[in-house]
Symmetry: D2
Subunit: 357 residues, 4 copies
């Protein structure tokens, strides 16, 4: 008899349901006697004992369904360690609910913040298996996260749409892509969409170089330029600021986001008409793409296998085309970033794409 | 022997190429001796004599291609009547280029502004046939414009993506949809995307009613609400302002667009987390949907037929499922809007959708 | 208090759920006291009393969902009037179940066959309101049926995919499109996909003319040709056969479908490599397109309104861009077909498309 | 000064143009003095000296374009070594055209057959760099080929569409997926589409086990079953036949393809309604997905780099997430297949998917 709890935490993304279905299919199909509980709205559900029982029927038809059937919430790691407004010790509350339900294991799906908390719970003696969910692909210990490829598709669609308008009107267009502090999403969507300039946090840009590239294209007869700009893109000047100085600067920041700042500077220097498009939250929604469905199903089934074998304390990840288990303490608190000299970056540069560096 | 000029003016949209291909296929296929000239970047090309010859090969493979192979530009009607910075009389210049090329007819594809200028040229004695291009579907004299259905699809995709995130996080989400001063695009995308509240310019909203609907949904257990808001949506209070008062108000407007104002007000009154997504220019780009391809091809071929018969001075439109010719002077300067008591609005209300009125 | 039964019959298609959601939203939102029953697997459920109660929750999230939440079955009109294998009188059984549940009205969604049976039930004194569901768009009394535009999109996608391969390899490709005995689907998908030849049941083809068109294209340098062929396409020779002669001929028919016969004949006469692709049932599946979602929702809500007003015996249809009610006896047993001289056919011919006639 | 020839051979697939654009962008962007020739319709163009010069403009807008701008043809390896109908020695002819144009290198894009011929040319002293193109992903020496993920998407779309119909009608549905003698495409599309049974060439099936799975599903209340069947799927009995015996058997084979045989057997044994859908050539057409665009661009740019460095005789492949060069003689004549005990197969089985073994 296994008693399993499951929760999804942090920003939602595609294939969360596919991954949970993978875990559930594996466990229910194993013949093992089983009880499965879904905690609602992420760690909140575990803290306040808000859950419902899950049966095979709950996982029927969810392979292609975006979002998460359990709901999610952002519960920052910092908050987790602080008592709530009624003085409740959240970590203690989670442990009590875990023991009250006599769980054998918690399956936790989430990104970086979620993994820090999962590792904390592991340290507190709970059995935990995690799955790497994020459109940012910034989780340490795994080559790939689910949600990423689906988000690449949506961001690329946006660039494709913008392309026809940019070409028809001879304008400079910026598409701002998600990804927090890392550039995988922007880099891949930018290359897939045929962007001429790609700006990512890992490679601070020099606005002069950006403008040079636009001018060069115009000189060569290309009347339009497409920029894929990560929401976390940063200029060389800003990258040199101390954390405090940067914070100070952002206090009086007058742009909705970095793309608008870049647009303003290009427009000012060149006189070109520059437009910004922000696909925003659409990038984490909708039906998962086939790649993510297969990928999340594979990870989910391996998580199920770990549970059946009683191997806890791992994130199920993906390395060199194999599903692997990665000790949680290796994952938590680290960020995977695009290396500025990664081969994909070099290849992008071979194609003539400018990173503004 | 027919000598035809063609141009696309105003914001680009899907199926412009499909429509031009329709005209060209019809004319080249007719056996009539033919010369076809494409003016580049809208009326600009006609003013400054910037054109290239078009052959059947130019229309190969363009049925599915977004944007316009001729390029476009926004040349406001007001500007058309003013001399350029070198003192050139633009209308006179267009006439001269028309006569210099000994054209039999100009085929002009565009929206409202474009039609005003087309009608002006008609009044000046030029032979003109026009085609109704706009994602806004706001052209008088035709039930439908090409670009509209493709834009509905893109805006609906955005709402679909937002839906999964809204449901997972229990948030209020606003998707801002294009359409200038009319609500067709928002109304259709909103209904297709299952929006709970739809705000369009033709039906000014009362923010209290909007909030009531959100509260009612929450009371009934729906933890999230989706709003489809037209970029031209307007509150009842603002709708009562005189043009001057409104202009004055907008001088100090602190929001990027009306959606952000609505979001701020909802958040302030309810404390709910409200997010805004603006798909923006993606709505006018990308490959035309099958509906628009068929529709634009049909209109294009009928435009070709008119030219072969020497019937000029018409927009080719669509009424009661038939392609029709509409005198240009009936079209120019008028706006087609959603009637607040249109059956589609009533049906939306029957479905429980709130218009905030 | 209203007690409503609902069923979907015949081949499934897109937007069935959207239409039922429209009916349900309208009724549940009206404030009227309501009980709603869904009969499972079409008329079978009504005959054998197989149903379940439907609540607002059943219609949550189904707007974008393909298929039908009630299940469907093909129950030919002829069979309806015959007793089942246990001697049960089916019509009588349906009436008894209707009265046993004290229904005020049956909402029936279906195509041609379904409408014959619905009209029979009306004649037997039951209150019936129907909705026009079919990818074939062949229902009398309405300009449009839901499912049609979604099916056009899928068939067009198939032609688009084939296009790149045909062009790369210089082959003749046939895409066989659904539609039973009518050609709307093939005509629209063919035009949207840029097919060179379109063969539909309403315009019998002469294989010589088809081959002439291919040869003409080759002579003009186009190395490939795309044919969109309706599953019900028929040659001029076959169209002249009596029903008996045709039946006799089809007894020894050696091709899987008409497309293969046409392919064989082209290959034999020209020596060209001809390939056939049959998207088949994919055309009636998957998520409904935005057009169908809006359209089905509108019809559904109007059906709800009719029920609230107690107006029975109608199909809710669409004419001249307005939702209308059409007496069932006018609809049943009639087929809407493409007129060989319809303007859309003429326009397709203006574009240079051959119908092989 | 570099003089480069390029050709695409074998069945077309998505991202061929993206890959060629990658090569071209890298070379044109390098500043190296350059002449580039495109041979038309695969090796045919090289044999008969049918080519055209390629400039940067030829690669504008092709990133998203399916098919190949150079055309392709299937020229079996066996045929390559035989003289043509006029007695022309094809290999000698290719060498002569290579030398006549004073080429530094041939860039060849193709699958298994293409690579055999490329290796032959390498053996004959020509400088060759190849790129792995195939939707089958069956090329030795690389983890991935371009076209594969796009084809997975299309095949998955087909299964998704069939899913809604299968569920609505309670039927058994077979979707036949491409892949020649290997099962990657079927395995991935099957898992992505939620197929219940997946039959691939590498794991011969026992029809009894297939039927058992269907019956088991029915017993558990699932009224429908989806099979993803590879076009090369083979039964255990057939797999034991000698090549000669198998050939003999296939002489009198009465089914259009293996899926129809499986359908007939299931129907015969169970009485269930079984339908077959064959998406066919649609799987290799249409616009490449973002994954393939990025992937093909990366490989293309690395091929360009090899050429600039004068490193010839390699296929540019992908291993462990890095682009690598693989000696052509290692690649030619070998087939990469799904290992029956590959982890992805085991994971699929953990999910409850049957392989009929």
């Amino acid at each position: 008899m296994k008693r399993i709890g499951m929760l999804t935490s942090g920003g939602d993304c595609q294939a969360l349901n596919a991954a949970m279905r993978g875990v559930a299919k594996c466990l229910f199909h194993s013949g093992e006697d089983l009880e499965m509980y879904g905690f609602l709205e992420g760690y909140k559900g575990l803290i306040y004992g808000n859950f419902r029982m899950l049966t095979p029927a709950d996982f029927s038809g969810v392979l292609t369904k975006g979002g998460t059937i359990l709901g999610s919430s952002r519960t920052p790691f910092k908050q987790i360690r602080e008592p709530d407004e009624n003085g409740l010790d959240k970590v203690e509350a989670m442990k009590q609910n875990y023991y009250k339900l006599r769980l054998d294991c918690l399956v936790i799906l989430g990104g970086n913040g979620t993994h820090k908390t999962a590792n904390l719970l592991r340290g507190e003696g709970l059995n935990v298996v995690t799955l790497p969910k994020t459109i940012d692909n910034d989780l340490w210990g795994t080559d790939m996260t689910f949600g990423f490829q689906s988000a690449v598709n949506i961001a690329t669609d946006a660039i494709d749409c913008i392309h026809t308008t940019a070409a028809s009107h001879g304008r400079v267009f910026i598409v701002e892509v998600m990804g927090h502090k890392v550039g995988y999403l922007t880099l891949n969507a930018g290359m897939a969409g045929g962007a001429d300039i790609i700006l990512i946090p890992e490679i601070p840009y020099d606005i002069k170089k950006v403008i040079d590239k636009i001018e060069e294209r115009n000189k060569n007869g290309s009347k339009f330029t497409i920029l894929a700009v990560a929401e976390g893109a940063i200029s060389k000047a800003d990258a040199k600021l101390s954390k405090k100085e940067y914070k100070e600067k952002m206090k009086n920041y007058k742009y909705p986001s970095v793309s608008y700042e870049i647009a303003a500077k290009i427009q000012e220097k060149t006189g070109y008409d520059v437009r910004v498009t922000v696909p925003g939250h659409t990038q984490r929604g909708g039906s998962p793409c086939p790649y993510d469905r297969v990928f999340a199903s594979r990870l989910g089934s391996e998580a199920g296998k770990l549970i059946l074998k009683g191997e806890y304390g791992f994130m199920v990840g993906y390395r060199n085309r194999e599903v692997v288990k990665v000790p949680l303490e290796e994952v938590a608190g680290k960020l995977k970033m695009v290396a500025p000299d990664a081969s994909i970056v070099k290849e992008a540069k071979l194609l003539g794409i400018s990173f503004g560096d």
